[in-house]
Structure formats: C-alpha cells, structure tokens
C-alpha cells in the first residue's frame, strides 16, 4: 500500500506497464527531457530511453497518427496531449482513423490518448475544456475519466491493455489535490463499469471526474438534513454502464446528472435520455442536468466560479429535487 496522488497513480500505472510490456511507449510534446508539462512522465526518459519516450514536434495530428501506425504494427502507444483541449487538432486521426479502423478492415488500434482536462485551475478557454462529449458520438472510441487515484491507476492499466482506442481524461484539478491508498502492484479497473461511490435512498447523482468530489461534498452536507444521496461515479463514459445508471435511477427515482462539460449536447443529455427510455416508470421527478452554461470556460476567478458547478449549487438542486 502506498498513498498516492491522482497524478502519481497515473504515472505509476504507465511506468509499471512499460516495465512489464516492451510494446508500451509514450510520445508527445515535452514528455521526455522535461517529463511532461505536468511532470506525469517525469523520469521516463532516463528509465526507458528516447526510443520509448519520444519528444515530438507540436503536432497533435502527427502524434496520434504515429501512435495509430505503431499500434497497427503491434505496439501499445500512449500519446499525450499536453492539454486535452489540443485533442481538437487530432480529431481527424481519432475519429476517422482510429475509431473506424477495426470496423472497416480489421486493423485494431490499441492506443491511449491521454491528457489533462477540466477547469478550476484558472486555465482559461484553451486549457480547461472537457471534450468528452465531442467523442461520445463516435462509435469505436472508448472514453474514461477517473475521479480517484485508485481508479486513475486501474483505468490507465486497463486502457493500455484494451484492444481499442481509449481517450483517457485526467482531471488536472485533481492531479495533486487528492490522495488515496493504492495497493502496490497491479490494479485493473475494467472499462465500462461504474462505481457506487455513496449509497443513498432519496435521490441519485450520476457524475464522474472532479464533479464526483463536488457531489460527495454536497451529499455529505445533505445528509446532515436527513437527505440520503446516492452517488454513482461513471468512470467510463463510452461505453456507458447503462445497468448501473438504470439501477440507481430505479432505486431512488430522482436523478441529478452532474458534469463539467457544458450543457447542450453534453453527456447529461444521453444519460437523461437513457433513464427516460428505460426507467421512466421508476421516476418520481424530472431528471435534472447540472452542468456549466453553454459558454467557453472563462479565465477570471469570478467568471469561472460562476461557470462551474459546486457543492453549494448542487446542494440547492438536491434540496429542490428532494422536495419535488
């Protein structure tokens, strides 16, 4: 057992897989000599050499393209987007090559594209985004978004070993803010399986990544008022754990879907539609989506704090839904 930060857990998972499997390598901007903008790959170059830790030009399309090509030849590349906002520059490689390759001609693309996502760190419009919804409409991709160090390690290990392309969203707000005991050695969290983070009977919050902690905070405060909130941590956004979502909806009959991606076309719409289709008769109230408004992520603390969901806002929604 070791107490690891979220960032250390990600790093350790990659390190251990690289030690175990020589097919695993990393590439990206400043991942080698500098150890990554957030130091996630610090020490990798010294340990594995420049053949397996490749500093690339500022070329997200080529980074993901090269990862795809290497994966087709039997490797297990991990491509870093320095900030996940830059994944937009690799959109075509991901959407038109990686996602469709197995279906079209049988060429499986076992790559992990990882990078820091999310706001709350005053990063402004281009260093704070949550791009999961862009990719949820792309059959062939998998998307994971861990909320805890344990899952960060387990989901990274599973993502590297997965036979298909996985977008691994690291919430940068969590990097060094949360710690958890993580068992030594292999931890594998299966993709596509949600985790019940807190049990409750009055209403459910379905969430993931940094918003899990907002939900747990709000749930704890609500408990003082006798409201028992269940919290489901999705962990994987594609494919969604439909059974877990439906189970909690059926159990409490009242659901808040909470995420940091903006509202319109966000993951909440899909989750709400799933519940409406499959658990309609269990519902005792409208499904509530809690998400930032449809604006870019602003820079000024006053603007960003207004933009992001927090425990206070979620607490109000809990109270309103409880009383519905």
């Amino acid at each position: 057992m070791a107490i690891l930060t979220y960032l250390e857990a990600i790093r350790l998972a990659m390190l251990e897989e690289m030690e175990k499997d020589e097919r695993v390598f990393v590439l990206g901007e400043d991942v080698g000599a500098y150890g990554g903008a957030f130091r996630v790959t610090a020490g990798f170059l010294e340990k594995f050499g420049e053949t397996r830790v490749i500093d690339t030009p500022i070329s997200e399309s080529a980074i993901v393209g090269a990862a795809i090509g290497a994966a087709l030849m039997g490797m297990r590349p991990i491509a870093e987007m320095q900030f996940i906002d830059f994944i937009a520059l690799a959109f075509n490689q991901l959407v038109n090559y990686a996602a469709k390759s197995r279906y079209r001609w049988g060429g499986g693309v076992p790559i992990v594209v990882r990078g820091p996502a999310g706001g709350g760190v005053r990063g402004g419009p281009f260093h704070s985004q949550n791009p999961e919804a862009y990719f949820m409409n792309v059959p062939g991709l998998k998307i994971v978004a861990p909320a805890t160090p344990l899952d960060a390690k387990g989901l990274m290990t599973a993502a590297i070993r997965d036979p298909d392309p996985v977008i691994y969203l690291e919430h940068k707000f969590l990097y060094r803010r949360i710690k958890q005991e993580v068992p030594d050695g292999e931890v594998v969290t299966p993709l596509g399986k949600a985790r019940l983070a807190r049990e409750g009977r009055h209403l459910s919050i379905v969430t993931y990544a940094a918003m899990l902690h907002v939900a747990l905070d709000a749930a704890q405060k609500a408990a003082a008022d006798g409201i028992e909130v269940e919290v489901l941590d999705l962990r994987t956004l594609l494919p969604l754990d439909e059974e877990a979502i439906l189970a909690t909806a059926a159990k409490t009959g009242k659901v808040i879907v909470l995420h940091e991606a903006t509202r319109t076309g966000g993951p909440g719409g899909e989750i709400a539609a799933l519940i409406a289709e499959r658990a309609f008769e269990s519902l005792d109230a409208p499904i509530v989506r809690m998400a930032p408004p449809d604006t870019p992520v602003p820079y000024a603390p006053s603007l960003e704090d207004f933009f992001l969901p927090n425990a206070e806002k979620v607490g109000k929604a809990i109270r309103a839904l409880y009383e519905y």
Binding site: A62, Y97, G107
Partner: protein
C-alpha cells in the same frame, strides 16, 4: 536487402512491371463496364495514365516493407499481393470483399509479415504520420522496415501532410513519400493548391532528400524509389519524390472534367506510360509484341474469373454490420429496446 539498380533488372522483372501496369489498367476497364452497368455501388476512381508511378514505386519495395496507396495507386496492391477479385468485390459492395461491404474501393488493408498495407482513409495526409509511426514501431523492434506512401498534389495542402512529414524528418524515419503531381485535385489545378508548384522544394524545407522523376516512366520511377528506399533502410531518413504525371480521367467517372484543357490531355495522351513501356520493351528486345499480347490475353482470362467471383458474391447480410466496432462487444441493432420490452410485456398488462 534491397532491390537491384534498374540496369540490373532481369528480363522477367521488366516483364513483371509491364504485367502489373497492364493489370492495373485492365481491372479499371472492367470496373468501368461494371460501373456503366450500375453494378458499382459508389463512384469509380480511375488511375488512367498514372500506372507507372504506382507500379514502379511499389516494385522497389522488399518483403516486409509497409505501404499505403491512394485510390489511384491500384496497381500497388497487385504488386504487393492483392487480388483483383477483392477490389472488384469492394467496388460492388459484396460480402466477399475484404471489408464485407463496410467500406469501398481500395479502402481496405492487411497486416502481415510479408508487408502490411494499413488501409488509407479519404482524408488525405493522415497516412504520412501513420506510416511514420508504423516504421518507428519497426525500428523499436530492431527491424529495418521501410514505408512507402503516395500523396497527391492536393494532399500536400493538408495540415496532416505537414505534421507527418515534419515528424518523419525529425525522427529520420525510413519513409519514402511520393508526391504524385497529376495536375488536378478534383477540379483544382496545382497553381490553386500552392504558389510553388515545384513540390520537390518541400524536401528542402523539411530537411529530407528530394527527387524529381518522370512519373510516366516506370523504370525511372522504380530507380528513384529504389534509391530512396535504400537510403531510408540505411538510416538516412525520408525522401520526398515528386512524380510528374497527369490524371487522364475525371476525379471520378461522373466527372466530365471540362475544366481540363483539351491540349493538355492530348499532350499527356502521347506520354501514356503503358504504350511507352511497350515501345521500350519491344525496341530493347526484352519482349516481342506477341509476348505482350499474350500477357493481355492472360490477364483478360484471369479477370473473367475474378469478375465472375465478385459478381456472384451476395451482398452482406444487413445485421452483419453490428460487429467489430469494438473487439470486446457487439453493437446492439437499432430496434428501440423499449419496443422489444413493450412487446414482451403486452400479454401481462
């Protein structure tokens, strides 16, 4: 191991080059007939007049080398072991096609020790970095595999082309990139793609080798590609080859290409790569006209069988498209699950 310099090519090898170019053209002539009969489901993209820069280049590859053709590099598939029946079935969207009706024409690929062909996609330029990654992977395994990729004059305008070639050059990746300057990207002439239509100049900009070649001379294409492959295998990095050629048909068969001056087509018709190579083979005594006629007749017989095979293949079963999106689980068919559940419950209500 590399292929021999052009002057050391045997008589058999010279005839093989002819066979591959002729097969390339004759498959497309068959496809044109099938297209006019309405049997080609999608568009038909001809490589008429460009067979030399495909076949000559592909012929310079060795066992294990990787290649990614574009749609007008059909002949490369046949040089590297692809079968006409596969291409025919692809065009006709048949279950027997390598993608089982999921994708079209030469949009397929294979992975093998003999030499992989990662499937192209429609978005030009993406293959440059994909092939770069493929040979970087080979280098990690301690192999000296080379990759050959074609791009068009239009494809050089994409960001993916720039990013891919730049990465390849920084990494000194064993990549050979042929810029097939066939003068038009759909209706857009090269002068509207770039202010500098000397594509070989790009090599200077990226810091790799650059060569220009008469793209309608199959032996010249072979030799320049062979040299580039030898350099790449020797660790000297990428080469950009500008091949001068002409697209003799429209972008696809629906395109009447009124935008191409008649004189330009007449000029290039006189430079047809197959007729030109036939004259060379006969004049140099490599083959007699009767030998060439026999090759044509043999291909014709082969294609009769290949077309019959593809035509007889059924279309893919509608539900067969639900698998292989992911390795570990199938996709649910589109019937709304609710409807199924309601039907199941109807009796109980």
């Amino acid at each position: 191991m590399n292929k021999p310099p052009v002057e050391q090519l045997s008589r058999t090898q010279r005839v093989e080059l002819y066979h591959s170019m002729k097969l390339n053209r004759m498959v497309e002539e068959r496809l044109t007939k099938l297209y006019r009969q309405g049997k080609v489901v999608g568009g038909l993209y001809r490589s008429l007049g460009q067979e030399a820069c495909t076949v000559g280049a592909a012929y310079a590859l060795e066992r294990g080398d990787i290649f990614a053709p574009m749609i007008r590099n059909l002949g490369a598939l046949f040089v590297r072991g692809g079968k006409p029946r596969d291409v025919l079935a692809q065009y006709m969207a048949k279950a027997a096609g390598p993608t089982r009706g999921r994708d079209l024409n030469v949009h397929y690929g294979w992975l093998s020790e003999e030499g992989s062909m990662p499937s192209l996609i429609s978005m030009l330029g993406d293959m440059v970095s994909i092939l770069t990654g493929a040979v970087l992977a080979e280098r990690m395994k301690g192999r000296r595999t080379v990759a050959l990729n074609w791009i068009g004059d239009g494809g050089t305008s994409t960001g993916a082309f720039h990013e891919g070639l730049n990465l390849a050059c920084v990494q000194k990746a064993p990549l050979v990139l042929i810029v097939e300057n066939n003068k038009y990207a759909y209706s857009t002439p090269t002068a509207r793609q770039t202010a500098n239509t000397r594509f070989v100049d790009r090599a200077v900009a990226y810091g790799c080798f650059g060569e220009q070649v008469d793209g309608n001379d199959v032996l010249a294409v072979y030799e320049v590609t062979r040299r580039a492959i030898a350099r790449a295998r020797n660790g000297e990095g990428p080469t950009l080859i500008e091949a001068d050629t002409m697209r003799m048909r429209g972008h696809a068969e629906h395109d009447d290409m009124k935008y191409v001056p008649r004189e330009l087509l007449e000029e290039w018709a006189r430079k047809d790569p197959i007729e030109r190579y036939e004259r060379y083979l006969i004049e140099s005594g490599v083959a007699a006209q009767s030998d060439l006629d026999a090759i044509g007749a043999m291909i014709n017989r082969q294609l009769e069988a290949e077309v019959a095979f593809a035509e007889q293949s059924p279309p893919p079963a509608p539900e067969s498209g639900m698998s292989d999106v992911y390795a570990d689980h199938p996709i649910q068919p589109p019937t709304p699950p609710l409807v199924v559940e309601w039907e199941a419950r109807r009796g109980r209500r």
